[in-house]
């Protein structure tokens, strides 16, 4: 394949009157990890949900292998290899751990991941596969949510705020999986509010501020001051009123 795997082109998304994503463009190559960082309300979830097909762009497009997929519903995008681990995990609450994975596997693409492989990745799972998911801890639930997306064998995995509400040690364990997943040829788009987490794992970083791109670059070339400015908006104290554009 010559071009990028996933491309977002001049994407603009509205929630009613509110412009949540404003003219954002980027792309991800095969096997690459891109981190999108931004403060709460910056539009990160909206971006991922639009890529997954849960929101419709006002203008601009989402391309996979150079093909515009704007019109496809979420399930068709899963079939093409775009899987989202949604914010808040969103497990099926009436089901057991294993049933959650089985749902993920029902429309799976062929590929390296299956339930057995997920059980190898998370060795605590097999002994607890018959438990209801609400009996699991937050970190365990996050693992199930990742497993449920992985068994579909995505080509690009969209991860929305994996670390939200989890203890640092648990977050570390979950991020330790990223190399394993990449090794299977999966690209990853990480969304994080926690800057250090996103930046350390990624090949490239894309920062959103009130729906707009405020900075892009590789972790190596960005200083933490630059990141702070992109993350919180320039000169926080002096030009406060100017930042009201998105609201």
């Amino acid at each position: 394949m010559s071009g990028p795997l996933l491309q977002v082109d001049a994407l603009t998304v509205h929630h009613g009157q509110l412009c949540a994503i404003d003219d954002v463009s980027f792309s991800i190559d095969e096997g690459e990890i891109l981190a999108v960082i931004g403060a709460n309300g910056a539009g990160k979830s909206t971006l991922l949900r639009t890529i997954a097909g849960l929101h419709h762009p006002t203008s601009g497009s989402v391309l996979l292998d150079g093909q515009v997929i704007n019109a496809l519903p979420p399930n068709r995008r899963v079939a093409l290899g775009v899987s989202l681990v949604p914010e808040g995990r969103r497990l099926f609450s009436s089901m057991t751990l294993e049933e959650n994975l089985q749902v993920g596997a029902y429309h799976a693409n062929p590929g390296p991941f299956d339930i057995k492989r997920v059980y190898e990745l998370f060795d605590w799972m097999p002994s607890r596969r018959k438990q209801s998911v609400w009996q699991l801890s937050g970190g365990e639930q996050q693992a199930v949510a990742i497993g449920r997306a992985l068994v579909a064998n995505p080509r690009v995995l969209l991860l929305d705020e994996l670390s939200l509400g989890l203890a640092p040690i648990v977050i570390e364990k979950i991020y330790a999986l990223v190399p394993d997943i990449i090794a299977q040829g999966v690209s990853i788009l990480i969304v994080e509010q926690d800057v250090s987490q996103g930046v350390s794992a990624a090949d490239r970083v894309h920062c959103l501020l009130e729906g707009r791109t405020s900075m892009t670059g590789t972790p190596a070339e960005l200083t933490s001051e630059e990141i702070d400015r992109a993350y919180f908006g320039a000169g926080l104290s002096s030009t406060m009123p100017e930042s009201g554009a998105a609201s």
Binding site: N75, L84, V103, A152
Partner: protein, 290 residues
């Protein structure tokens, strides 16, 4: 002995109520739609058994073999067209549309088949019963309907928990968006759920016609009972439906025992009591009550 008989007769009719209610419960659980035409669909199935099955040289007793699959198909189509369209608007519209359909169906039946009562003719089976003790008569038809109800619930339970498609239906019921992100085409899943609901309500309608007379206006009162069953048993619980059905049946038999005109009133009062004391029902999760 009188009390035992009340319980037995209540449980028998409760089986029918459960059969009637499980489709309503499934539609609500998965689509979050209350089909106010549910009762009228059952009546249509009854008319189909009486008027259409004989044209296929099928005994009315076996008419369900044709009517039930046809209803499943109709359920899928109606869901993918009318009901889906109203869901896409808002939940409010689904109520208006299904209530409108209910009135239209009822009056069309009145125009076409008149207000005369009909029964599904099952020959001599109708009068036969098992007579285990002095005043207790267990009608074979009621027993058969109870057995059918238990079988249907069992089959549904197995399907929903063991099959991939069944799990997808539960996934959509739990979290529609997350199910889509797992590859589910939720409209198709909605269609399947509606097909199952229509199939069970067709079976219930035919069973009703075997047990008693029905007319175009029978749909309303049956919807009412089905709804009471679902609330008493607990919204979204399959086995709660059976328990709710039996509880309603027993309450009605008890009311009828005091005074024949209290039969339905007793059921309504049980319903209102459950609503006042335990609004999530006997087995329910708390998601339909505010």
């Amino acid at each position: 002995m009188i009390w035992l008989n009340i319980v037995i007769q209540g449980a028998l009719v409760g089986g029918f109520y459960a059969l009637f209610a499980c489709g309503l419960s499934l539609m609500f659980g998965v689509l979050k739609v209350i089909n106010l035409a549910h009762g009228d669909m059952a009546v249509v199935a009854g008319y189909a058994a009486v008027f259409l099955a004989p044209r296929l040289h099928l005994p009315e007793l076996w008419s369900f073999l044709v009517v039930v699959p046809v209803f499943a198909l109709v359920g899928y189509v109606v869901q993918r067209t009318l009901i889906q369209k109203s869901i896409d608007r808002d939940p409010f519209t689904t109520l208006l549309v299904t209530f409108g359909l209910s009135v239209v169906i009822e009056n069309l039946l009145l125009e076409v088949y008149s207000a005369n009562g009909q029964t599904v003719n099952i020959g001599s089976l109708i009068g036969r019963s098992w007579h285990p003790a002095s005043i207790i008569y267990v009608s074979y038809v009621s027993l058969g309907v109870l057995a059918a109800a238990v079988l249907v619930l069992l089959a549904l339970q197995l399907f929903l928990s063991k099959s991939g498609l069944g799990r997808m239906i539960r996934a959509v019921a739990d979290d529609q968006e997350a199910a889509q992100l797992s590859g589910a085409n939720y409209r198709h899943i909605f269609g399947i759920a509606a097909a199952i609901a229509f199939a069970t309500v067709a079976l219930a309608g035919i069973a009703y016609g075997m047990m008693t007379q029905f007319a175009p206006t029978s749909g309303g009162v049956n919807l009412l009972f089905a709804f009471e069953v679902v609330v008493i048993g607990g919204i979204g619980s399959l086995w709660g439906t059976l328990v709710g059905g039996i509880a309603l049946g027993i309450a009605q038999q008890f009311g009828a025992h005091i005074n024949l005109s209290y039969q339905i009133l007793a059921g309504n009062i049980l319903f209102l009591l459950v609503l006042a004391v335990r609004p999530q029902g006997l087995f329910g999760r708390k998601n339909a009550v505010s």
